[in-house]
Symmetry: C2
Subunit: 457 residues, 2 copies
């Protein structure tokens, strides 16, 4: 039987940073490429919103100094950095009391502070001992993958303050409860970004800078580089049919696309939706069943002025009762109004995704009033994005592994299935979970398919 002719050398599914970066590398190597995307926009888990006359990021927004690919992309397109404002005191709301603090670690009883230091060092050591590309091979991998982070903290952390702070850190990094994720996955994720401290820090860490005009616009610039003619938006992928010679993608609306190789730049939870013919390998299908997305609703609240700055506050806060935590100063440079940006995460996101919008907004404002005082009661604008309700993300920030997933299924995460390759920040070795990881995964997936195409006629 004659095969149907190829439409392109490489088809990429998903026009987030991973898929776009895959397509760019493929295209630059002289191979034809088409990117299909279910949404009517590029950018995946980044997207623009409008607040008090400015554009804000409703998804991914920060960049750290180690995110060299993302920084290079911004430099290439002359998109300027804006340092994350953090001058002044931060606030911690703990056991019913709001206290200011400076530095990385909040004001807690001294025993708790000592334990936080000890536990963080221990966690950093444990993370550093893992091989970034194969954390499942560690000698104690099975034991670490048999417990949740909550279970591990319960067994190894004694003071309430240290436990609370570790839970706050887990929620902030994963938008999940410590009970949701495997200790091994937690450590591997830290390993991929150089440890816990860089992940939770502003200066020198993953929250150091934002982009003037928003991170989301870099996906638009990347799409421009790929070439708009190579993108098909509003085109959901339904099924992936492979034969000896190529792959046919069945698309929404009855259309299809035939390629020599395919890169699926989607989180595993979305891969689980795709029918495969032949059926997906058992362990790949199993992994797709086991990487639920984080739970987060991101909210920006605008005020007439950044009133907290005048009171010596950085606009940064964490709370043990939330529901809105953590919070950062989200004021764009060059405006007169002020913005407080933050998150409903994990259990709070689940509780408020089913609440009426007015109740949700009130809960956010109420938290801000408790933390920043009465002026926080009078916002001039509000915008939010419930990533749990985004059909084509299924949650944010990233796919997470429950216990026994990394040891049982982790080794297949970057393993091609026939002529189909995988990208997406979940597959990244460097900075997994971040836009930087998405870009890295695109480079790797592109290298895989280019290599495969070179070795076939």
């Amino acid at each position: 039987m004659m095969s149907r002719p190829y439409d392109v050398d490489v088809a990429v599914a998903g026009a987030g940073f991973a898929g776009l970066n895959t397509a760019l590398a493929v295209s630059r190597a002289g191979r034809s490429v088409t990117v299909i995307e279910a949404r009517d926009r590029v950018g995946g888990r980044t997207k623009p919103g409008h607040l008090a006359g400015s554009v804000v990021d409703l998804g991914g927004q920060w960049v750290g100094p180690d995110h060299r690919r993302l920084l290079a992309l911004a430099a290439r397109h002359r998109v300027a950095l804006e340092p994350q404002f953090d001058a002044g005191a931060k606030l911690i709301d703990y056991q019913g009391q709001v206290r200011p603090y400076t530095g990385l670690i909040p004001a807690l009883p001294v025993l708790a502070l000592l334990e936080v230091d000890r536990v963080m060092k221990r966690i950093e050591r444990m993370a550093a001992a893992l091989a970034a590309s194969a954390p499942w091979n560690a000698p104690d991998a099975a034991a670490l993958d048999a417990v949740t982070v909550a279970g591990w903290l319960d067994a190894h952390v004694r003071t309430k303050g240290a436990r609370m702070l570790m839970a706050v850190a887990v929620r902030a990094v994963f938008s999940a409860e410590p009970a949701e994720i495997s200790m091994l996955f937690f450590l591997a994720y830290l390993r991929a970004s150089g440890g816990l401290e860089p992940l939770v820090s502003v200066r020198g860490g993953a929250q150091q800078d934002r982009f003037r005009g928003g991170l989301h616009q870099l996906s638009e610039r990347l799409a421009d580089e790929v070439g708009r003619g190579r993108l098909r938006l509003s085109t959901p992928l339904l099924a992936v049919e492979q034969d000896m010679d190529g792959v046919t993608l069945r698309l929404g609306g009855g259309d299809s696309l035939r390629a020599r190789r395919v890169v699926l730049a989607l989180p595993p939870a979305l891969l689980g939706r795709l029918a495969g013919q032949p059926a997906w390998p058992a362990l790949r299908a199993g992994l797709n069943q086991r990487m639920a997305m984080g739970s987060v609703i991101k909210c920006h609240v605008a005020y007439a002025t950044p009133f907290w700055r005048a009171r010596g506050l950085a606009g940064e806060a964490v709370s043990d009762r939330g529901p809105f935590s953590p919070i950062f100063d989200g004021t764009p440079e060059g405006v007169s109004h002020g913005v407080l940006s933050g998150f409903l995460e994990g259990e709070a996101a689940r509780r408020f995704t089913v609440a009426p919008p007015a109740i949700r907004r009130q809960a956010v404002v109420d938290t801000l009033v408790r933390l920043f005082g009465p002026p926080a009661a009078s916002p001039i604008d509000y915008v939010e994005n419930d990533w749990l309700a985004e059909e084509w993300s299924g949650g944010c920030y990233a796919g997470l592994m429950a216990p026994a997933t990394m040891t049982g299924f982790g080794p297949v995460i970057r393993q091609p299935a026939g002529l189909v390759h995988f990208a997406g920040t979940e597959t990244a070795i460097d900075a997994t979970g971040y836009v930087e990881g998405a870009l890295e995964s695109g480079e790797r997936a592109a290298a895989e398919v280019l290599d495969a195409l070179r070795s076939t006629p």
Copy 2:
């Protein structure tokens, strides 16, 4: 805009026991119903296989004395029970030694035996304290849902022997490692079947009897009762589109089916594949991401005679190193050959799903030789079913909950999404995970849709 006319009152997706029992109740109430099924057969996670001239169950096979719906179905169709053979000594392979034992608990050091007794009683008490219909409401639900069964056992069981035995029990009941499931889910599952002892027992328990000719045939009889004209096999469901007046199911091959109400009788992991329009409620989508299926390969090995019986052995065995464990005498009544039936479960299933068939068969036979001696080296026939590789099950026996799933998402498991209702053994309050639970869920889902149809014109 005029709505498209209804094809049926109720459309059911999935022709396992849950979907068929839904359809039967709907049809008996005088409502029109169509069942669509992706496979070319009914029966879901039960199916027939052929071994040494007999028919064997490649999936679900046993029935316990409490499974009143399944027993009634068998009685209605005059399908006889065959007691599970268990006369004689059982074997335990532990720390390199194979020992015979009788009764429920294997021969272990006395301290381990005392601890097994204590731990089982404690677990039974904890399970009995839960509300079967809402285990997430228990006062300690959050704490129990924050740890894996492995983590709980590690904290509460000291002797190696007791830990091993609990792990063997978890694998046997869930076809999963103790690290994969939440302690709260484990207890709730036990609660739904009256405790751990009934689940792991032959006499008086969930393995007491089999069906002459196989359990799978009862799905055929149930399909006959529904009426073959109401079934559409080989018809995958792709998408579920709801409006104010009804539901349109988009089917493979471009066809569609319009109904007033729909019952999806599929495990959550398969629900996760279905596009919804409007998009599924966030917590429903989240649950679908979080109930991975168990991992199991079921194998039957036939010998010229049931040689173990002559040596006073029951043919029942468990092993701490496996990989083939547990094992039962699977000999059908009235044949001269003998059958040993068993499972590659959890981690062993993952390891052997990617092994060549000959290597897998050899590992099974090697385990049997270690346990039952040299005669086990010469099987006359062999048949297996890798449920991990079954695209339309995604694993077996059932969907499992990792930590934080039951408290975070459990309450939506039986919650209709608009005009769409949910069945399947995962949604059962009674005997969840078993065929009995599937039948119960069908009764409940049918009652829901019939009630809804009565209250709409």
